[in-house]
C-alpha cells in the first residue's frame, strides 16, 4: 500500500449538511448504478424487454382473433393496456433492488456515507423511470412493426407516456414497501407477481369490460389498471376506437382519475414505506 493508503490532512471545515444540488447529483450516481447493474445481469433486461414482447405476440396471435375477430384490430386495442400492465410489473424491480441492498448491507454502506438521506431511494426510483421509458418505447416499436398505429398526435402520445410514468412513480412506493417488509428478494418477486397478476388481468386490458359477469365488472371499472388503460387508449388511439367496445369518448376523465389514483397510492404508501424502512434499519 503506497500513496493510496495515506490519510489526507483533515479538511479545515466539514460541511454540516448536503445541499440540494449535491443530493440530486448523488441521486443521478445511484440511478447510474442501478442501470449499470442491468448490464451485468442480462436476465433482468430480458424480463423487461423480451417478456413483454412475448405477451404482445401471445395475446395478439393466439387470443386476438378469438377476442376481437382479427389479430390486427386486437393489437390496436390491447397494446396500450399491455404497456400499462408491463409498467406495473417493472415497478417491482424497485422493491427487489432495495431488498437486495438491505439484505446485503449495501444500504448500510450508503447510509454511512455523507450522502443525502433521500438519495438512495430517489436514485432507485429515477432508474426505474428510465427502465419504464425504455420498456414503453420498446413495446410501441414492436407494436408498430406488427401494425399498431397511433391514431392521435405526438403530443397525445407523450401525454400517455407521461401519465404512465407518473403512475409508475406513485406505484413504486408499493414496491418499496414490499421490498422493505420482505425477508429476501425472491419473496418480493413472489409477492409482486401474486398480487399483480389478478389486478392486471382483472381489468379491461385484454378483454372489454361488458363481456364479463356483472359482479366482476364492478371491480374492473374501479381498477386503476382499467382506468389507466382507458386513458392510454384514448390518448394513443383517439377516434379509431369509435364503435368498438373499447371506445372511450374522452381522455380527460380517465386521465384525471388515474392521476387521482396515483395521488392516493403515493399518499398511502410513501409514508408507510418510510415508516417501515426506519423500523428496519
Amino acid at each position: 500500500m503506497t500513496a493510496a493508503a495515506t490519510t489526507a490532512p483533515p479538511p479545515a471545515e466539514l460541511s454540516p449538511r448536503v445541499g440540494l444540488a449535491e443530493g440530486l447529483r448523488q441521486t443521478m450516481t445511484l440511478a447510474w448504478r442501478t442501470i449499470v447493474q442491468v448490464r451485468h445481469n442480462p436476465w433482468e433486461l430480458g424480463d423487461f424487454s423480451i417478456q413483454p414482447i412475448m405477451f404482445v405476440l401471445l395475446f395478439t396471435y393466439v387470443f386476438g382473433g378469438a377476442i376481437a375477430g382479427s389479430t390486427g384490430e386486437y393489437l390496436t386495442f390491447a397494446l396500450p393496456g399491455i404497456i400499462v400492465m408491463n409498467m406495473l410489473f417493472i415497478t417491482m424491480y424497485v422493491g427487489t433492488g432495495l431488498n437486495i441492498d438491505l439484505t446485503k448491507g449495501v444500504f448500510d454502506r450508503l447510509r454511512s456515507l455523507p450522502v443525502a438521506r433521500w438519495a438512495p431511494m430517489a436514485g432507485r426510483i429515477l432508474a426505474d423511470q428510465v427502465k419504464q421509458a425504455w420498456s414503453i418505447f420498446l413495446l410501441l416499436a414492436v407494436g408498430m412493426i406488427l401494425g399498431f398505429r397511433i391514431g392521435t398526435d405526438v403530443a397525445s402520445l407523450l401525454a400517455a407516456v407521461g401519465l404512465m410514468l407518473v403512475f409508475a412513480l406513485a406505484f413504486s412506493w408499493v414496491s418499496v414497501l414490499v421490498g422493505v417488509l420482505a425477508k429476501d428478494p425472491e419473496k418480493v418477486q413472489l409477492f409482486g407477481f401474486t398480487a399483480l397478476f389478478p389486478v392486471t388481468f382483472v381489468s379491461n386490458v385484454f378483454a372489454p369490460t361488458d363481456t364479463m359477469p356483472g359482479w366482476l365488472q364492478k371491480f374492473v371499472e374501479v381498477n386503476p389498471v382499467t382506468i389507466l388503460a382507458d386513458a392510454s387508449r384514448a390518448l394513443m388511439l383517439g377516434d379509431e376506437t369509435t364503435g368498438t367496445q373499447w371506445h372511450v369518448a374522452s381522455a380527460t376523465t380517465p386521465a384525471l382519475q388515474s392521476l387521482l389514483w396515483a395521488a392516493v397510492i403515493a399518499a398511502v404508501f410513501a409514508p408507510l414505506s418510510v415508516w417501515a424502512l426506519r423500523r428496519r434499519v
Binding site: 500513496a3 493510496a4 448504478r33 449499470v36 447493474q37 451485468h40 454502506r109 454511512s112 455523507p114
Partner: protein
C-alpha cells in the same frame, strides 16, 4: 492525548433487549481499539451507533470532535465503515463499486476512476477489476469492501468483524492491510470475537459482554489479568493417563484437569514444556497431542466474568436478525 472517538454512557435498546447498557470508550488518535466480545455482546450495535446508522437511546458520543447525533453528516465525512458482511454491490464490477463510492463522495469522474485503480492495485484486485463482484471469493469481497471504505481517505476506520469467515491466509492478509493503514495514520475501531486478532492488531482492548464494558487495557494487561497459557497432553495409550497426570501435575505444580483422554493444566514457566517432553520420553509414553496455547476468549471471559462466553445467536438484537 486526544481522542478521535469518545463514547459516554451509550444505551441502545431493541424492544426488550438491551444491546448497549451504558458503554464508555475512547480511542486515541492514530491507534487501534479492539472491541472484544462474544456474539450478542453489543459490538455491532456500538459500531452502528458510532457510525451514525443507529441513534442511541441515551448517552453521547463524538467522532473527530463531532457529535454523532447533531453532527452526523460531519461524522460520515470522517469515517469509513466496513461491516460484518462484505457490503459490496454484487452485480457491479470491483472497479464500478469503487467508482460509485468515489462519485457519491463528490469526486469528479476521472479522479474517482483514478482512485479506484489505485485501491484495486493496492488490494491486489487489479486482475478482477472488471468482473462482477458476485464472482469474487470471500477474501476478495472483504478486500473490496475494505477498499470501498477507504475511497474517501477517511481519518477513521470502523471495522466490524473484518475477518469473520475468512480462511487463515486471507485473515493474515487482511491483518497486514490493516497494519499498513494504521501506520499511515488512520484511527481504527475494530470489533472481533478473537482474542488473537485483538492481540495482533489493537493498542488497547475493550472487552464487552451483555452490552457492558467489563475490562479495558492493553493486550498485555488483559493477558496478565487472565494469567497463563494452557498445556494439553493426550497420551496415545489411555492407560498412561494416570502417569501423564502425575508428571504434568508435578512439573506445573498444579492439579491437572482431565478432559476425556486429554490432560490440561495452566502453565506460567516456559521451561515446563521441554521438561514434560523429556519426562514422558524417559517413561516411554507416546502422545498424540502436546500443545501449549494462549488464553482463549472463553478463558478471558471466564476469568473476567466468572462465566464462559455465551455463543448466543442473534448478535445485536433485531438489526442482525432482520438484515441477515
Amino acid at each position: 492525548m486526544d481522542h478521535a472517538i469518545w463514547a459516554d454512557g451509550l444505551v441502545k435498546r431493541f424492544g426488550e433487549t438491551t444491546a448497549l447498557d451504558g458503554v464508555n470508550l475512547g480511542v486515541r488518535t492514530g491507534t487501534v481499539l479492539g472491541l472484544l466480545g462474544p456474539n450478542g455482546a453489543g459490538k455491532t450495535t456500538a459500531v452502528r451507533v458510532l457510525a451514525t446508522l443507529l441513534r442511541p437511546d441515551a448517552g453521547t458520543a463524538s467522532v473527530g470532535g463531532y457529535d454523532i447525533e447533531r453532527q452526523a453528516h460531519q461524522v460520515r465525512q470522517l469515517v469509513g465503515l466496513t461491516g460484518q458482511y462484505a457490503a459490496v454491490d454484487e452485480m457491479l464490477t470491483g472497479a464500478e463499486n469503487l467508482l460509485l463510492i468515489g462519485r457519491l463522495l463528490g469526486m469528479p469522474r476521472p479522479a474517482a476512476k483514478q482512485r479506484a485503480r489505485e485501491l484495486l492495485s493496492d488490494f491486489d484486485l487489479t486482475d478482477a477489476a472488471d468482473r462482477a463482484a458476485k464472482t469474487y471469493s470471500g477474501g476478495m469481497r472483504r478486500r473490496l469492501d475494505l477498499a470501498a471504505s477507504l475511497v474517501g481517505r477517511p481519518q477513521m476506520l470502523f471495522l466490524d468483524e473484518p475477518t469473520t469467515g475468512l480462511d487463515p491466509r486471507a485473515r493474515s492478509e487482511l491483518w497486514s492491510l490493516i497494519r499498513r493503514l494504521v501506520s499511515g495514520g488512520v484511527t481504527v475501531l475494530l470489533t472481533t470475537q478473537y482474542l488473537e486478532e485483538a492481540d495482533a492488531l489493537a493498542d488497547e482492548i475493550v472487552v464487552i459482554d451483555h452490552g457492558r464494558v467489563i475490562a479495558t487495557g492493553t493486550p498485555d494487561e488483559l493477558k496478565a489479568k487472565t494469567g497463563s497459557q494452557t498445556l494439553a497432553v493426550r497420551p496415545e495409550d489411555e492407560s498412561h493417563l494416570p502417569l501423564v497426570t502425575a508428571v504434568v501435575g508435578e512439573l506445573t505444580k498444579s492439579t491437572p484437569e482431565l478432559q476425556g483422554s486429554r490432560v490440561t493444566a495452566p502453565v506460567t514457566d516456559p521451561a515446563v514444556l521441554p521438561a514434560v517432553v523429556r519426562r514422558l520420553d524417559d517413561a516411554g509414553v507416546l502422545v498424540t497431542e502436546l500443545t501449549l496455547r494462549g488464553a482463549s476468549l472463553n478463558e478471558v471471559f471466564l476469568s473476567l466474568t466468572g462465566h464462559p462466553a455465551e455463543d448466543g445467536d442473534g448478535d445485536e438484537g433485531p438489526t442482525e436478525g432482520s438484515l441477515t
